[in-house]
Amino acid sequence: MANLKDLRVRISSVKSTRKITSAMKMVAASKLRRAQSAAEAARPYAERMERMVGSLAGSLPQGAPGPALLSGNGNDRVHLVVLVTSDRGLCGGFNSYAVRNAKQFLNEKLAQGKEVKILCVGRKGREQLKREYGAYILETFEGMGRKGMNYGDALDVAGRVTKLFNENSFDVATLIYNRFKSAISQIPTRHQLIPFLFDAASEEAGDPALRSMYEFEPSEEEILEKLLPRNLATQVFRALLESFASEQGARMTAMDNATRNAGDMLNALTLRYNRTRQANITKELIEIISGAEAL
């Protein structure tokens, strides 16, 4: 009889777990929708900003060094990694993917004899890195996007990066985050922040003839000086939004799986419970009958 009670307890505990996971799935799904549209809405700004930096940089005189944020400080010795993860777990492999990618990058750089420094955005990334790379972690930002991601959060991170750069504490900055592809697929992505990389998107924007015709008000250098920190913040903001959307997607998928697993388990347990109950009844009947026959 004790066995039956155990089963009942387990069934009820699996049931409540299923309730929790399915609620989390719902929450993640609704957050995902908002996060996804926020990430998509922010894309035009980031893209146009990048294009503008591209056209400005393209019209700089050949061979001119330009501001340090654009072309770097000429060194390649100290690498800064900005790792974007979530504050909370229960989202499948979401954080591990980004962390694994970061570890790979760090090991590569360390093997080349470079120095590395890490800025963590999100608690989980720090937790997973601190055992092996704890000494390299400069700072951790937490509580991003608790009330919806806003530009101010990105400004904080970007401001810190710019400050470190101006203090000459690193040469190259790389942003590592999960890019949102769909609810079930997130791609760990590396994006070099400093120096500015001309990618294909900014290359094909506007024909080169037009680009060299731009007038500037005030001078190119002054605009670049204002635009570059802004661009940095924008790229960070984009990464935060993408990462936030990815997190919700990953959590939704993970919780969907958990709910389904709980359902399967519940079926198996219920079957076992019913069988045991039946077996017990049969046993009792046999006892009664054989007792009656013995008389």
């Binding site: 926020a38 809405a41 146009r48 900003m49 294009r51 731009y214 500037f216 002054e222 605009i223 913040a233």
Partner: protein, 141 residues
């Protein structure tokens, strides 16, 4: 087809705010306002906190406040990357006064050059906002 309209895109970090074609758009450049008509010479400019005026058929149909940013002009289009943009009619004057006050307090409390510069920029934005509403109220009455 030669269009007599200029395509105007206003984007803030959070979203695309405006994407439409207009007759003329006047933008508050940091070295003075400039109007953008179709076939304007390509230009990149920084903006000061101020008001963007949108003209249709020679009259202003919409006024938007921007808290600084960048403008890229090509013969076909004008793209404004604003840090913050809000229709002038949506500005709450009391909230702006509060904002100016907090900014001034932050300026007093600032202990580093960057913090001071930030607070100063914030004061500039709030003051420009107030000036913009005051001017609009003047026109209205």
């Amino acid at each position: 087809m030669e269009s007599n309209l200029v395509q105007f895109d206003l984007v803030s970090p959070e979203r695309l705010l405006v994407s439409e074609a207009y007759d003329m758009v006047v933008v508050p450049g940091s070295e003075g306002d400039f109007g953008v008509l179709p076939r304007h010479a390509p230009m990149i400019a920084t903006l000061r906190p101020g008001v963007i005026d949108i003209y249709e058929n020679g009259v202003i149909t919409e006024r938007l406040f921007v808290a600084g940013g960048f403008a890229e002009v090509t013969p076909e289009r004008l793209t404004v990357l604003a840090e913050e943009a809000i229709p002038l009619s949506d500005i709450d004057s009391d909230a702006t006064k509060d904002r100016l006050k907090t900014a001034k307090e932050a300026f007093e409390a600032a202990d580093t050059d960057t913090a001071r510069a930030e607070a100063e920029a914030e004061i500039g934005i709030a003051e420009a906002m107030l000036a913009a509403i005051a001017k609009m109220d003047g026109v209205r009455h």
